[in-house]
């Protein structure tokens, strides 16, 4: 059934990338913001029981509040909390960018690239700041 090709060359074929190709596939900044928005949202969803449990400990009593501080002083817990803080910050800032795009602000390619980079320039320093605070640098 194949038709004789006019140029003699086969045309490039574009397919969805396979899971194994993900690491060698370079996304532009808006794509990075997008997939990390999804990943951070999924992480926050999966961490809901932990977040609610910590919230419960913080409110139940003075005793449970002390216990929360004790649990939070462990380095591994701090690392998990830092991961969640990053997820929250990225999801929030990227989400505000999407609300902006919904209002048709900055939808052209250069502006979308700039705002995508701005998401990282806001969320990552804020994450670093909370990291320094968490690990007692100040």
């Amino acid at each position: 059934m194949s038709l004789p090709s006019i140029t003699g060359k086969s045309r490039p074929e574009f397919r969805n990338i396979h899971v194994t190709q993900i690491l060698q596939y370079k996304l532009p900044p808006p794509g990075m913001v997008s997939i990390l928005h999804r990943a951070s949202g999924a992480a926050l969803f999966l961490a809901l029981p932990l977040i609610l449990w910590l919230f419960d400990l913080s409110l139940m009593s003075e005793l449970s509040f002390e216990r929360l501080i004790e649990i939070g002083s462990h380095w591994f817990v701090k690392l998990v909390l830092l991961g969640l803080i990053w997820a929250f910050l990225h999801h929030l800032v990227a989400g505000l960018r999407y609300l902006m795009l919904d209002l048709h602000m900055g939808v052209d390619k250069p502006a979308a690239r700039t705002s995508a980079l701005a998401v990282f320039w806001i969320s990552l320093p804020l994450t670093l700041l909370t990291a320094l605070k968490l690990f007692g640098v100040f």
């Binding site: 999804r38 949202g41 999924a42 926050l44 969803f45 809901l48 029981p49 609610l52 919230f55 419960d56 913080s58 409110l59 139940m60 003075e62 509040f65 002390e66 929250f88 929030l92 989400g95 505000l96 609300l99 919904d102």
Partner: protein, 125 residues
């Protein structure tokens, strides 16, 4: 023509696509996002201002009934927002209908569980 459309909508070969609530979900995802952004900033500011106050200042914040209600509304917005997002993830990556529906059902049950738990947490203060 009529017979093909009627058989496509019923039986085991039916394509499960939801109930055509796409626009509603889209709008509610944005609305809940605005609520969550506003509440996050509010709680962060109040939390940071009262950071030195320890347990009394933190728990005291959630004692007034209006604050319990505002927090619960924000948490319900969070759970609905999470439902739309997680539902989208299942729809994008999980193709077998029965696996997808099972995951969606578990997601709903889990979020309802979290909602009831939130009431318990807030009204115990």
């Amino acid at each position: 023509m009529a017979s093909t459309t009627s058989s496509a909508g019923i039986g085991s070969k039916r394509i499960v696509v939801g109930a055509h609530k796409g626009v509603g979900a889209y709008l509610l995802q944005r609305l809940t996002a605005i609520i969550l952004a506003a509440f996050s900033l509010f709680i962060l500011l109040r939390g940071l201002l009262g950071a030195a106050g320890g347990y009394d200042a933190w728990a005291g914040m959630f004692v007034p009934v209006w604050m319990k209600i505002v927090t619960l509304v924000a948490l319900l917005a969070l759970f609905y927002h999470a439902w739309i997002g997680v539902r989208d993830i299942w729809m994008d990556y999980v193709k077998p209908t029965w696996v997808r529906l099972s995951l969606q059902t578990l997601t709903v049950l889990w979020l309802v569980f979290c909602a009831v738990w939130s009431v318990q947490i807030l009204w115990r203060v």
